[in-house]
Amino acid sequence: MLVTTRQPTQLHIALQQYATRALPQVQAHQHIASGQCLADHPNGVPVYAPRAGRVRSVSAQCITIDVDTDSHEAPALVEPHDHFLERVRQGAMVGLGGAAFPAHHKWRGTPHTLVINAMECEAPIHCDRALLSIRPDSPLRGGEILAEALGIARCVIAAKADFAPIFQSMLPRVPSWELFTPAPHRGIGAERTLLRALDGATLHGPASEQGYIVANLGTLDALARWWDHGFALTHRLVSVGNEQAYWAALGTPLPDLLPDTQDAQNTENAAAHSRTLRVGGLLSGTLSTEHHRGLQAQDNSLSWDDASTAPLPAEPCIRCARCAPVCPEGLLPQQLHWYQHQSEALVALGIDACTTCGACDSVCPSHIPLAAQFMRAKKTLRTQRSIDAMAERAQARFAVRNARQTRRAEQAVERRAQHRQGDKRQDAIAAALAKRRQRKAS
């Protein structure tokens, strides 16, 4: 295991965040200090400069910085806020497990249990292993900060067997905490699956709404660094291949982290250029041939997708049902596969509980990419639901508008009627005057 720090020469800092896009606060050609705020958004988290340098370009998606040669990581140039969640947001805390979900959204409410997720169960991700080799105390310190701030009574370290001795040796520091080592199981690191193994709790919806906070080691490390040393989240550990790990600035161009690509650039080897890069784990990761972007907070692992890991061609489902007993969520993958294009049936079969862990893939004798199918089906379902929600809103707004127009039309009719009544009064006056004039004349 080798953890090294990479000094970048250029940074491509992405502004896209979990559900929003940060708005740039710097301009091209401006010189920026290390730890200066570059962009922010009220719904997201601020973006800080990992290094000092000069802004090369600013677009809606990305800020590019030419890094000064002698610059280094520095604390964020902000005054820490008093309010806990606001301070968490200020430190740009996002979940480093792979989703980069903003922590100040996840840590709301009044949780009763903090679960420190040290399950790292998906090859080839090993940034938690790298973190424990360089700063084993830091995640625990982050857990302490979080538990104290939110008044959490019960803290559990869920560690896989390899990590258990490390935490065992640190337990005397936090005597009231529990160490939990679940039986190794594919997909055990997924929040819901882990909580089922821990408490037998069956969760519907986010764990944070039911009193649990499940935090990744990297996230807690970032929290400790922010709280104790003032470093906002501008760096992360990223594992490369099976053995290497880097402490890298967010925005570091991926080719800088992948030695093979640099060689390819030098030799202009076209074949190596078209290699497929996997960002994330073997199951949940995404593949791309576009490597020329900056490192982002959700990129926990980089590896080449070699032909040896390519799946065998899929055969038709033979309904052997071997996938059912291995599903950690107790679903019926063979049925989900059968009904993959029928959203109502999928919902009835509980596709919302599927964590796409790929346990079903691993036992399927027909090599059907089940997890990938379920991921697609869930995406389609999400899109359909958002369209339905919009249609429902439009329907309600249309009804309100029609009711308002009808009401206005009625009011107009009423006003006209009143106006005519007014005319009648005028007529009465005129009649009275005429009568009086007549009387005078006679």
Binding site: M390, A391, E392, R393, A394, Q395, R397, F398, A399, V400, R401, N402
Partner: protein, 163 residues
């Protein structure tokens, strides 16, 4: 034996009566109307010739309109409507749009005439007389009804995925 025969006879009679009732008794108009309305895409674009999705649904339930008049719903909606109303599906009368769009006001050109606000069927445009107007993108259904009334032609349609 006698009991079994009596039971069988009772079941036969009850079954026949229920089957006849189901055929004779039309589905509750209100429920059918709600289901037909729900099947429509709620863009309120009036391309069907009726002033909105609900009026079209009412006409459909009364049998005054064809099922193939809703371009934003596409062929899928035609199928659902035909099934709900028990009529034959027909091909769409107009081309279906390729992707969902949203209206965007070029704010520099807006003169604040409020005509688009009056035209919007879902109250998705904000603004006041002689003040700049803007589209609430979350609420816009891309019905295009605001485009024609604009006297300075400052409303454009953009694909929803770019908003």
């Amino acid at each position: 034996m006698a009991a079994a025969l009596a039971l069988a006879a009772l079941m036969a009679v009850a079954g026949t009566v229920l089957a006849l009732l189901a055929r004779r008794w039309p589905e509750d108009t209100q429920t059918l109307l709600a289901r037909v309305d729900a099947a429509l895409p709620q863009t309120q674009c009036a391309q069907c010739g009726f002033p909105g999705c609900r009026p079209y649904a009412e006409a459909l339930v009364q049998g005054d309109a064809a099922v193939n008049l809703c371009p934003p719903g596409g062929e899928a909606t035609v199928q659902v409507l035909a099934e709900l109303l028990g009529v034959a599906a027909q091909p769409l009368a107009q081309c279906a749009p390729t992707e969902p769009m949203k209206a965007l006001i070029i704010e520099a050109d807006c003169i604040g005439c409020t005509l688009c606000i009056l035209a919007c069927p879902v109250d998705a445009i904000m603004g006041a007389t002689k003040h700049m107007h803007t589209v609430l993108l979350d609420e816009c259904t891309g019905c295009e009804l605001c485009i024609a009334p604009c006297p300075v032609d400052c409303i454009e349609l953009v694909p929803a995925r770019l908003c």
